[in-house]
Symmetry: C2
Subunit: 140 residues, 2 copies
Amino acid sequence: MQLSRKADYALRAVAYISQLKKGDLASIGRIAKARGIPREFLAKILKELTRAGVLVSFQGVTGGYRLSRLPKEITFLDVIEVMEGPVRINLCVDDRHCACTNEKSCEIRPFFVKQQEQIIRAFKRQNFGAFAHNKISKLA
Amino acid sequence: MQLSRKADYALRAVAYISQLKKGDLASIGRIAKARGIPREFLAKILKELTRAGVLVSFQGVTGGYRLSRLPKEITFLDVIEVMEGPVRINLCVDDRHCACTNEKSCEIRPFFVKQQEQIIRAFKRQNFGAFAHNKISKLA
DNA sequence: TCTTAATAGATTATAAAAATCTATATTTTA
DNA sequence: TAAAATATAGATTTTTATAATCTATTAAGA
């Protein structure tokens, strides 16, 4: 019932990158140090976010990462789903794993279906616009 | 980000027991068979629920389990917390693990604090009254 | 051509979840 | 009173997921 550390790190990294001035890049090392994330683990995370189209990367000495689009156009759900796959709050919500579809009235599933919708809606509502460089002060 | 199978089994078992007629008991074997839960695992679960005061148990040939109080007085949260401990939707919500308390404005924590409150409220609202023996038909 | 970046993907380590096992205690009933 | 069916206690094992690291390569600027 807990977000993975990987997804938490990813959210923090994207929040960090959201605070860059237009055109600036942040390197893995810089973000890792600023946010206390294990460097190699973060490398893996940013790699995945790049492949998924959330970030854009540049190699070479002056390389680093920036967002692929405006901060407000990237949601928590976007980032979390790249890290963890589709949100599933209980196994039975997924049809393939529901042991109760045959039963006339499952006691449990409808409740979790509803809760899952709730949390997905919240993850979708929350975007990185609030963190953009003009909203929050200095980067560590 | 997913409820443990253990907690899911526990909810199903308590829902099952909620459907018993007043005074009736259900044995581990019966519940396990009816709901497709591994028998020994369920034994462990019901043991814990009994110790936590959610269920009452009786040993011996005619033994089994019943609720310790009315179905509507047992919430999903009660059962889930016995299985998983306090609900924590992200590590950083817990003060002891928050790496960002020192930072002026953490980007992530307040959001999850709010979501956690939401889900806890929903777990507290949902009780087993809806499953009581007169509300839903026959037990498998 | 050296340095500092990202990329790819395999590998290892750690921890949590899921399940099982062994032995014991309790109660009913034959 | 013995046998059968139940719960209890708690350790152990198995499996899976998470977290982290490692090795080698590619790319670009100084």
